[in-house]
């Protein structure tokens, strides 16, 4: 029971975490972890907001947050790249590592379920709006879901715009093995 109350207190009511201890003291603690750790723990303003409001941003801060994220997106010449390259990006741990959180091709049983399954993602269609949505979702997931657990692959340069375009093709192309239920898919 104590734990339930504790969690409710912690996560409820949009409390900010800065009330417990000031930033200077936290940063001092981080410094003791060494220079590499301290450098990597530096936050951009959006990461900071997501950290202070783990149960969700206050409603009056959402639109400014999303507007700031939208400005960060960079687009390649073509938003639909090469699905075969995208498949590599999807599976490679140092790249997309998408199976950590998502189901993908039906033949791959070792997938996580933190995010929704992406099997047959192509059933959503391949119109320009869908292509743009998918590209932006991977480049900066926080545009559609502020503070989502999904990394902002493009913003953080974990993936290049071209690699993200290849992922878009892997997710949407009817030819992609991710889309066996789409006509012509799975081959």
């Amino acid at each position: 029971m104590k734990k339930v109350i504790f969690t409710a207190l912690l996560l409820g009511l949009g409390l900010t975490l800065a009330e417990g201890v000031d930033d200077a003291r936290v940063l001092k603690a981080i410094e003791t972890g060494g220079p590499k750790f301290a450098a990597a723990m530096k936050q951009d303003p959006s990461e900071r907001l997501c950290s202070l409001y783990p149960s969700g941003l206050p409603a009056d801060q959402v639109s400014a947050f999303v507007a700031a994220e939208k400005k960060k997106v960079k687009y390649p010449e073509k938003l639909m790249g090469d699905w075969k390259k995208g498949r590599m990006v999807f599976t490679t741990p140092s790249k997309g590592n998408c199976y950590a959180c998502h189901a993908g091709e039906p033949a791959e049983p070792a997938f996580g379920d933190v995010g929704p399954p992406l099997t047959n993602f192509g059933l959503r269609g391949v119109g320009n709006a869908m292509i743009k949505y998918t590209y932006e979702k991977i480049f900066d997931s926080w545009i559609t879901v502020p503070c989502s657990t999904m990394p902002r692959y493009g913003v953080n340069a974990r993936l290049t715009p071209e690699e993200i375009a290849d992922l878009v093709a892997y997710l949407l192309s009817p030819e992609s093995p991710l889309n066996p239920a789409v006509k012509g898919g799975g081959q």
Binding site: L10, G20, V21, I30, G34, F37, Q43, C50, R158
Partner: protein
């Protein structure tokens, strides 16, 4: 051939365990591997190594029995269950890793990296922790420094950073019960930290909670904090406080 059989058993295990809760799945994995190692818990070897060190290390005319791990000099029973905690002699909050190091440095006058190193600390942590096996975690925040360290731990727990924008909470509080690849996600209340120090079969090493936190940070692309630094003590205190009442399962045996 034996390798192939083990792999087959592993795959079977994974295949049949998807419906189990994270705790049940962890238990199944542990039982299977114990069976395969002939019932010998490799963690016990590290405990034995720690015992030998505990009995033999000396300096300044003192032995480790002169060290106070929170229950008085030489008292090991139940000490780990109450760590991290504030220690007057060092005027700081310490976890067991840090406390072993400060005991060897301050009481026995030994030098880290010369007279002893990380391996000795891990063995000693395993040994001392084993005296709290199956005891309930009982971490308190009575001292102002404990309270402050807890608040730092809470900030770090929710601190999103690095190339993956990740924090501990982004997975462990949002998605307990789900899986990253095949690894079950647990929150502190579900026993995230209850079985450390543990023998980890995928690395064939004994790991303390500090090692485990380092592995977490490395896997979210944040170079891990130094051993014995405040982030370790703060996160251990935060996780263990949330797990108060859970029974310690040490030395643990895990993936």
């Amino acid at each position: 051939m034996k390798r192939a059989l083990i792999l087959l058993a592993l795959l079977t295990l994974m295949g049949t365990s998807l419906a189990l809760s994270p705790a049940e799945e962890a238990k199944r994995q542990r039982e299977l591997f114990l069976k395969q190692s002939g019932g010998v818990h490799p963690g016990e070897l590290f405990v034995a190594m720690g015992e030998e060190l505990y009995e033999s290390l000396e300096g300044n005319g003192k032995t480790m029995k002169d060290c106070d791990f929170g229950k008085g000099p030489g008292v090991l029973e139940g000490a780990y269950a109450e760590l991290p905690k504030y220690f007057k002699d060092t005027n700081r909050v310490e976890d067991l890793d840090t406390r072993v190091k400060s005991c060897l440095e301050n009481v026995l006058g030994l030098k880290y990296d010369e007279d002893f190193g990380r391996e000795e600390v891990v063995a000693l942590v395993s040994y001392i922790a084993s005296f709290s096996n199956e005891m309930p975690i009982n971490v308190t925040l009575d001292d102002p420094q404990e309270k402050e360290m807890f608040e730092i731990g809470k900030r770090l727990w929710f601190w999103r950073a690095g190339q993956m924008d990740m924090s501990c909470a982004a997975c462990h509080d949002r998605y307990p019960g789900r899986r990253v690849r095949l690894a079950p996600i647990r929150n502190p209340e579900q026993g995230l930290s209850d079985h450390w120090p543990a023998y980890t079969f995928s690395f064939d090493k004994m790991y303390t909670l500090e090692n485990r936190v380092n592995f977490c940070y490395d896997s979210i692309q944040i170079p891990h904090p130094d051993f014995y630094s405040e982030p370790h003590i703060a996160l251990a205190l935060y996780m263990r406080f949330r797990a108060n009442g859970n029974l310690l399962d040490v030395p643990g045996f895990t993936r």
